[in-house]
């Protein structure tokens, strides 16, 4: 780069301060600027990651003793026999699959709508992104209120179109609760996909639509044969990130149902959270988390193999 060949400061007085700032002139310039953030990441992410991985192989229950004893694969054996683990795995899968499909579909639809150039379109884009920035606590209680069997406006509206959500309501019926939360999760999270897809669509040259319409393609055909294939890479990356978010973040479930009623909305991260901060069983909680990590890695590998590169046509 041309910066390197330029002379550094012309008049050098070797004071302590200038000696320190001179460090930034040399080849360590980049590393000096990077060092603080990398140190923080190492200290607060990589070290805890290592600790988490090792804790999974120990017996660490804080209320019994502050020490942890190495127990090898005991926790994992217990995990495989734990019915609650399998229940939460099933719930996690439901949450992942339905959440991902609904959010990608709605996000894609919204992105296509917002991709047309017109006046004030940026304002519409901002408005549609708002739900993503609403604090999860607010989202959770706002929607709990609106979906309340006695006081909820949404329940009343659903009644108008023939959908009966009365009786025990969404929050009292173990079969309905997870779908209620997924409905709220859709409201909150589809803008994430929308932004990604919007960026992808805007990357497509503008005159593309003109040429396809000259060839007689309908808007739908244009979408199917031009837009969809071209934003495939964006869809691929965003779905992976979105899936990880869905598996990892129990925030909405924690706030809206806390795993209940019964254990009908217990997902893996929430189960780990419970084990850690209700039973103080840090070892077993870490084991569950490691299982989540393995599941994510497995999902990512399968995803990359079959969806990422499998369908190149």
């Amino acid at each position: 780069m041309s910066i390197k060949s330029l002379p550094s400061r012309a008049d050098k007085k070797k004071t302590v301060v200038s000696r320190f700032t001179d460090l930034f002139e040399g080849k360590y310039f980049a590393w000096l600027l990077l060092a603080p953030s990398l140190a923080m990441i190492a200290f607060f992410i990589f070290y805890p990651l290592y600790r988490g991985l090792t804790l999974a192989f120990t017996h660490t229950i804080l209320i019994e003793s502050p020490d942890s004893t190495f127990v090898g694969l005991d926790n994992f054996r217990q995990l495989l026999k734990d019915p609650l683990f399998w229940t939460s795995t099933r719930h996690t899968l439901i949450y992942l699959v339905i959440g991902l499909i609904s959010q990608v579909a709605v996000g894609l639809f919204a992105a296509v709508l917002l991709s047309r150039e017109r006046r004030m379109i940026w304002l519409l884009r901002i408005i549609l992104v708002i739900p993503w920035f609403v604090p999860p606590v607010v989202t959770a209680y706002m929607w709990r209120f609106m979906l309340d069997p006695d006081f909820g406006i949404m329940v009343k509206l659903a009644h108008y179109i023939g959908l009966d959500l009365g009786g025990a309501g969404i929050w009292g019926d173990p079969d309905k609760t997870i779908y209620g939360i997924l409905f709220v999760e859709l409201w909150r999270s589809y803008p994430f996909f929308m932004l990604f897809f919007l960026a992808g669509i805007q990357g497509i040259p503008k005159d593309m639509r003109e040429s396809t319409s000259v060839d007689g393609a309908s808007a739908l055909q244009h979408f199917r044969f031009i837009i969809l294939p071209l934003i495939k890479p964006v869809m691929f990356i965003s779905s992976l990130l979105g899936a990880i978010h869905l598996i990892n973040s129990p925030t909405l479930i924690l706030l809206m149902s806390n795993g209940g009623p019964g254990d009908s909305t217990l997902v893996l991260p929430l189960y780990a959270f419970r084990k850690a901060f209700q039973n103080f069983d840090f070892g077993y909680a870490s084991t569950i988390s490691v299982a989540v990590l393995v599941a994510i890695a497995g999902f990512a590998i399968v995803y990359v193999r079959f969806i990422g590169f499998g369908k190149e046509d």
């Binding site: 330029l6 700032t21 002139e25 080849k27 310039f29 804790l55 606590v137 006081f151 925030t251």
Partner: protein, 288 residues
Amino acid sequence: MTSTNENQIKPKKKKTTFVAKLGTFAISIFVIYAIAPILWTFYTSLRTGRDIMINATGLSFNNLSFAAYGSVWRDTNFPALVRNSLIICTITVILSLTLGTGAAYALSRSNFRGRQGVLLSYILIRLIPGVLLLVPIYILMFKIHLLDTYIGLALAYTTFTIPATVWFMKGFFDSLPTDLENAARIDGCSRLGAMWRVSLPLVLPGLAATGTLIAIEAWNDILFALLLTSSNRSRTWPVGMREMIGEFQLPWEQLTATAFLSLIPVLIGFALVGRKMVAGITAGSLKE
């Protein structure tokens, strides 16, 4: 649509206007979908508890008042919690912007060995399940005596916002020409001086957008706050709100008032730099 003679004469124009109208209609639905819940929450917060009990889903504009806001502000410890949240947000924004901007500048301007590795590690961090880190971070904070302190929570937030900060700021630096800095360097500016005096002023709007994004992230979070705070000394508002609802069976009008109050800072930030923020997110996301 059946094809009549009219349609065959000018099929193209007819079709686009129909599609355009359908599009406008669909966009309006999306706008309502996005903001109606917030408006309904605001409306409920203005009603009296009695009105909500009698006719919760009815729409009437009698007896609306800000009384619920007054009682939330006076009778609960919500103001103290908001103060805690604001302090923690400020520390997080300052730390994250300082560290992240430096790193972003280095990654944008110099081509050193290991650059790709650093960039990759910022992405890989996002793949680590947060729940795996919660327990060890809790233990770590316990050991360095930062549980239930402002700085402890702010450090956790900083760590998790740095990758996004770096990606955003790198995007903004990348879009600046290097000529200006080179000129400054020839005139005797140090490298840090060139960054500070030439580049930073030019990315100020980007810096503001990124800072707002960090602030919103820290303002909204509940998971870490739940974990790392245990008393009113450092507890943030989301934890407090969750507790108020659990303990006191908060009446709906106060609940919705609290919800709307805590949404106001987010909406203000969004109104100020939302456009830049959305642009930054889309630009940054594509490069990943």
